[in-house]
């Protein structure tokens, strides 16, 4: 029996974000023009750290091992939600710290950090959302601040244009999604995932069309959040235009949020066993996964702009993560579904650090105003060796080389796909991964192999940015041996969904 007290205890990670947001309101109200925003960043970072430590404690304490439903089942706190809240917390902390140097000269710092924390709040709610209504509300809560964040450099055409595209595609997608939700409601008469699941049997018999269209549209909305093809179009432009820390935030945390809700909605709300006859969403996700990873990686292969390359690569990684859903056929052996789904969670977990780090490194280079193309990175390794070692760790880990946790998580994913009886999916992933090695190594080549065109003239080394980048790098490396801390959690969390 869950008492009131532990209910709030279980919500403490989300609460941490909310409190941080409120604190930022207050600070902004009393000290409107905080000069360098150090305090604001500190508050936001503390909020993130509090959230991640809270969720970490809850994870290890195991109180929520088999899921605790709150508010009449509207929210559920379980291993998966806590694991992802952990990701959101760490990404928020990293981004907030990094932003200190990035937006030092810019106005409206309070709003910036406020939006970040609010978006994080929405994400942590998404992780726990157990009803389509909450899903939609939390989705919007995390999306709307993101639109504004992308537009933060409001005198920069790229930033504004990115925001516009992000917003318009986002609005369209949310429209599609909510309409889908309404159709599912029409078919099942409920928005609560568990009730939806139990009503599926009858609904798919009576209104297969309504149900199918509805689910397909919901999947569309989720695909937007996870930047999966065909709802990915906003991603490259928004990531390239947005301030680099924001891009890091979106490509890591926001994407993860999309996946966590997708996992829950589909696995809990629409168990493939009962709905396969109406809409075989496993097949649907197989299509999406293949198209997404292929398009992402191939488009990334020929980019001139590092930031845009990372944007496309994050689409590719969305494709990998989709394997988690695409492999949920019953063709696998016992526990195969849990394995591959857990592997997908692990990958998103590691991805949170390595991808954030990579974008933050881009932020660092933008901070130095060296430019964004590969050529601009030439010879950087001699000017800023430490940061470049960190970046090397990020890209190689993204490429699946054993310098960081990305290696293990990616290969866990492929292994899981094989185990789930879809080895061909793993092979597609493998080919894509090899291609990704090509364009990731272009960064390394630029930094270490190519000589600089002219002296880069880097004089100042921003402390906060460095701190964030190095933290991300260290965590990424430690996650290679240290994945042992989280792998059990992930697989159990996945198993508890079925």
């Amino acid at each position: 029996m869950v008492t009131m007290a532990n209910e709030w205890l279980l919500l403490s990670p989300a609460a941490a974000f909310v409190l941080a947001a409120l604190a930022l309101f207050v600070i902004d109200a009393f000290a409107p023009e905080d000069a360098d925003g150090g305090l604001l960043a500190a508050v936001a970072a503390v909020g993130g750290i509090a959230a991640l430590s809270a969720s970490g404690v809850l994870l290890l304490s195991g109180v929520a091992a088999d899921g605790v439903e709150l508010f009449g089942g509207q929210l559920v706190v379980d291993g998966m939600s806590l694991l992802f809240t952990f990701i959101f917390g760490s990404v928020t902390a990293l981004v907030s710290v990094a932003s200190v140097d990035y937006i030092r000269e810019l106005p409206h710092k309070a709003e910036y950090y406020l939006l970040v924390t609010l978006a994080a709040t929405g994400m942590s709610l998404l992780a726990s959302a157990n009803s389509l209504a909450v899903v939609f509300v939390a989705l919007e809560l995390s999306s709307l601040p993101s639109y504004a964040l992308v537009a933060y450099l409001k005198r920069n055409r790229g930033s504004v244009e990115g925001a516009l595209k992000y917003f318009l595609v986002g609005a369209l997608s949310s429209g599609i999604m909510v309409y889908g939700i309404s159709l599912v409601y029409a078919a099942t008469g409920s928005l609560l995932l568990s009730d939806v699941a139990s009503a599926l049997g009858g609904a798919s018999a009576d209104y297969p069309g309504v149900l199918g269209v509805g689910l397909l549209m919901i999947v569309g909305g989720l695909a937007f959040k996870t930047a999966s093809v065909p709802f990915h179009f906003w991603a490259p432009d928004a990531y390239e235009g947005a301030p680099a820390p924001v891009a890091a935030f979106l490509s890591s945390a926001s994407k993860a949020a999309g996946f966590v809700v997708a996992f829950r909605v589909l696995v809990v709300g629409f168990p493939i066993g009962t709905i396969a006859g109406t809409l075989d969403w496993v097949l649907l996700f197989q299509v999406l996964a293949v198209v997404t990873m292929t398009l992402g990686n191939f488009a990334a292969a020929t980019q001139e702009n590092v930031k845009r390359m990372l944007a496309y690569s994050s689409i590719g990684h969305a494709g990998y993560a989709l394997i988690g859903l695409a492999a949920l056929t019953n063709a696998g052996g016992p526990g195969a579904e849990a394995t591959v789904l857990g592997a997908s969670m692990l990958h998103l977990f590691v991805y949170g650090f390595m991808n954030t780090g990579a974008f933050l490194f881009v932020a660092l280079v933008e901070h130095w105003e060296l430019g964004r193309t590969f050529e601009d990175y030439n010879g950087l390794g001699r000017e800023a060796p430490v940061a470049c070692v960190a970046m090397t760790v990020f890209v190689f880990s993204l490429a699946g080389l054993p310098v960081g946790g990305g290696f293990l998580s990616k290969y866990f994913l492929f292994a899981g796909a094989v185990g789930a009886g879809v080895p061909w999916l793993a092979l597609v992933g493998a080919v894509n991964s090899a291609l990704s090695l090509y364009y990731y190594s272009r960064v390394v080549k630029a930094m270490w192999i190519e000589p600089p065109a002219e002296p880069l003239g880097i004089e100042r080394y921003p402390t906060a940015l460095y701190a964030a980048v190095l933290t991300a790098a260290v965590v990424t490396v430690l996650l290679l041996p240290g994945l042992v801390v989280f792998d059990g959690i992930a697989f159990e969390a996945a198993a508890s969904l079925f």
Binding site: K165, L172, G209, L216, F233, W234, D237, L284, A301, T302
Partner: protein, 674 residues
């Protein structure tokens, strides 16, 4: 076990030590390592003589594994062992004797002439000697192959001694490649023998010849890889024979030998007389117990031998360089030995091997002395009239030439006569095929006589045909001493086994015959055992064995004298004419060695190199092309795909909606909605 057999390894290790010394410290050693080499080979000679003496006195043979590389617990074992029986003991003496004399001679040929790279030279000689001695005392085929190869390496190093010129390295490469080609078959044979019999031992009931014998007799069975037992053994025999033909420069692998004349003359002497070329024939003799089981292979050996003897002799007729003549004579003489072995004349073959070793070494050293005198001019047409200037050289050289020509009573006559006699007898004994081989051999006798005497006449007789010939460079003791030793031996060596005399007088003078028959039966490597294996019968003409002998002896002697006489007649007088030019086309053909080199060079460069070039093009174009194509295709695919991102947001919206519709339609059909 006798003390001497404890010491036999030293026969190998002494020259080996001189190799190491000369290689690393030669620069600071007396005579740049020559002394060490001489002492080492002298020691080896001494030990070999003692070994031989002990063998003669006690009759005790020796066959023991000395060092195991890979022990047998999990398969065939690879080991070095020492087999001292009558054959190897005698061969040891020959090899170490020639090696010793060559070392001494080198003092005059290399040191006194101030040649470069002497330490390298003496190191090479040392290793050469060591390898050959080890090969001789090998007790199994594996060890034999190992040192067979090392002999090849040394010949490469020594032939290419003057590597800063163009010709020697090329000749060295050719020598190694051609013999390597033969050794390829040899190696396949060795592996085959190892796998078939599980051992490569030569001697004893555990040796592979014995096993093969019992297998043929059907007493035991071995894996013959689907062939008949005799068929498979014949294959093995022929494979090993490939190595023999290569090293012993038998047709068609003979082409490397004349080129090998690019090496220093003492090296030629060593190669031709006692080491490399002898190795091939010795190997056949060594594993004669195996070949004797295979009549087909024996026939092939005999034919190849006979043919080579004639074939090489014809080419020797027209050569102008003194060493070229000698080179072709070597090929021809080893042809005789092969003929003898193939025709079942085991003793005769070894007899000829012995005498030939002596007189061929003598001839080369003599030629060397002439070359010193002529300031390294080798064309006989630039010589002439040297006999007055260089007495010792002339006399010894003459002795050697007469031996080579097979003139009674010089050593060569006895051995060659016995070879032909054995062939004839066995041919008469129901192996008519041997008549062909015999015919070729007997014809070659005439040619041998001719070219030998032609060489002597052109070199030493007549008037000097050049300034250097008028005032030749004088040679020292270190040249004359070896010549004298060999000269004497060349005259008397025939006494080792004068079979005709025994037949006529009945005196027990066929010492070598008895000696080789004295090998203990246990080893199964004695001539007696071989004769028991031999499938050849014996026949006779002109009233019995003696008659046959007389006919054959008369024939060979007559032909030899005829050839010699013809040469003497043609090249007599002050300034003889170039008579061979009268041969016209034939001469050009002979001069070009029947275009043997041409087709082999074409095989190597014209064919193989072109094939390699084609393969390279294929590799770069097709295989690597595919690899690069894949990468460029995927990159251009990427460049295409990114075009979807047009940058116009309404297009994005349109694409989103359209793809959603597409999915809708597809899954509507799959899901059977509506």
């Amino acid at each position: 076990m006798a003390l001497i057999y404890e010491l036999t390894p030293a026969i190998v290790f002494l020259p080996l030590a001189s190799f190491a010394l000369a290689l690393f410290f030669g620069r600071w050693m007396p005579k740049k390592g020559a002394v060490a080499g001489i002492l080492a080979t002298a020691g080896a000679l001494g030990l070999s003589v003692v070994t031989l003496g002990w063998l003669l006195l006690s009759g005790e043979v020796h066959d023991q594994t000395w060092y195991t590389l890979v022990d047998a617990e999990m398969g065939v074992d690879l080991a070095f062992g020492i087999l001292i029986d009558q054959l190897s003991a005698a061969m040891l003496v020959i090899v170490s004797l020639i090696a010793f004399l060559v070392h001494v001679f080198s003092l005059g040929y290399m040191n006194d002439e101030g040649e470069p790279g002497l330490p390298r030279y003496y190191a090479g000689l040392g290793l050469f000697t060591a390898s050959m001695l080890a090969f001789v005392m090998a007790d199994n085929l594996f060890m034999a192959f190992v040192f067979f190869e090392l002999v090849g390496l040394c010949s490469y190093l020594l032939i290419g001694h003057w590597f800063t010129e163009d010709a020697p390295p090329s000749a060295a490469k050719k020598a190694f490649l051609v013999t390597r080609f033969g050794d390829y078959f040899f190696l396949v044979g060795v592996v085959g023998v190892l796998v078939t019999f599980g051992t490569a031992g030569f001697a004893g009931s555990e040796g592979f010849p014995a096993l093969a014998e019992s297998a043929l007799a059907g007493e035991t069975s071995v894996n013959t890889f689907g062939l008949s037992t005799e068929g498979w053994f014949s294959v093995l025999g022929l494979l090993v024979l490939g190595g023999v033909l290569g090293k012993s420069a038998q047709f068609p692998f003979h082409t490397w030998l004349p080129d090998a004349m690019e090496g220093p003359t003492p090296v030629s002497a060593l190669i031709h007389a006692a080491t490399m070329v002898a190795a091939g024939v010795y190997l056949v003799a060594r594993m004669y117990g195996f070949y004797a089981l295979l009549p087909t292979v024996l026939g092939i050996i005999a034919f190849v031998g006979g043919f080579t003897a004639l074939f090489a002799a014809t080419m020797a007729v027209v050569k102008n360089e003194i060493k070229q003549v000698l080179a072709y004579s070597t090929i021809s003489q080893y042809g005789y030995m092969m003929l003898a072995l193939g025709a079942g004349g085991y003793v005769a073959a070894f007899f000829h091997l012995t005498t030939h070793a002596i007189f061929k070494a003598l001839l080369f050293l003599g030629a060397g002395s002439v070359i010193i005198a002529m300031h390294h001019e080798e064309d006989m047409w630039e010589m002439g009239g040297l006999k007055s200037e260089m007495r010792t050289t002339y006399l010894t050289f003459l002795a050697g030439s007469l031996a080579l020509a097979g003139i009674f009573p010089f050593s060569g006559f006895w051995s060659k006569d016995e070879v032909l006699f054995e062939t004839l007898v066995h041919a008469l004994g129901g192996s008519p095929l041997l008549f062909g081989a015999y015919a070729m051999g007997i014809t070659a006798v005439f040619l041998t006589g001719f070219y030998t005497i032609r060489m002597v006449m052109l070199t030493f007789h007549g008037d000097p045909r050049s300034e250097t010939a008028e005032d030749p460079h004088s040679v020292g003791w270190n040249v004359k001493f070896p010549l004298s030793v060999l000269g004497v031996l060349a005259v008397v060596a025939g006494a080792l086994n004068p079979v005709p005399i025994e037949m006529l007088t009945g005196a027990e003078v066929d010492f070598l015959h008895d000696y080789l028959y004295a090998t203990p039966e246990a080893l199964l490597t004695g001539a007696e055992h071989y004769s028991s294996l031999s499938s050849y019968g014996s026949g006779a003409i002109a009233g019995g064995e003696i008659g046959t002998m007389l006919v054959n002896a008369g024939l060979s002697f007559g032909l030899a004298v005829a050839g010699a006489g013809l040469a003497f007649g043609l090249y007599r007088g002050g300034s003889p004419a170039r008579h061979t030019e009268r041969l016209g086309r034939v001469q050009t053909l002979l001069m070009h060695n029947y275009y043997q080199d041409e087709y082999q060079v074409w095989l190597a460069e014209g064919f193989t190199v072109r094939l390699a070039a084609a393969a390279d093009t294929f590799d770069q174009g097709v295989i690597d092309g595919t690899v690069n194509a894949v990468s460029s295709v995927s990159r251009s695919a990427g460049a295409r795909i990114r075009q979807i991102q047009s940058g116009v947001v309404t297009n994005y919206a349109a694409l989103v909606v359209l793809s959603l519709l597409a999915l809708l339609v597809v899954f509507a059909i799959l899901g059977g909605w509506f």
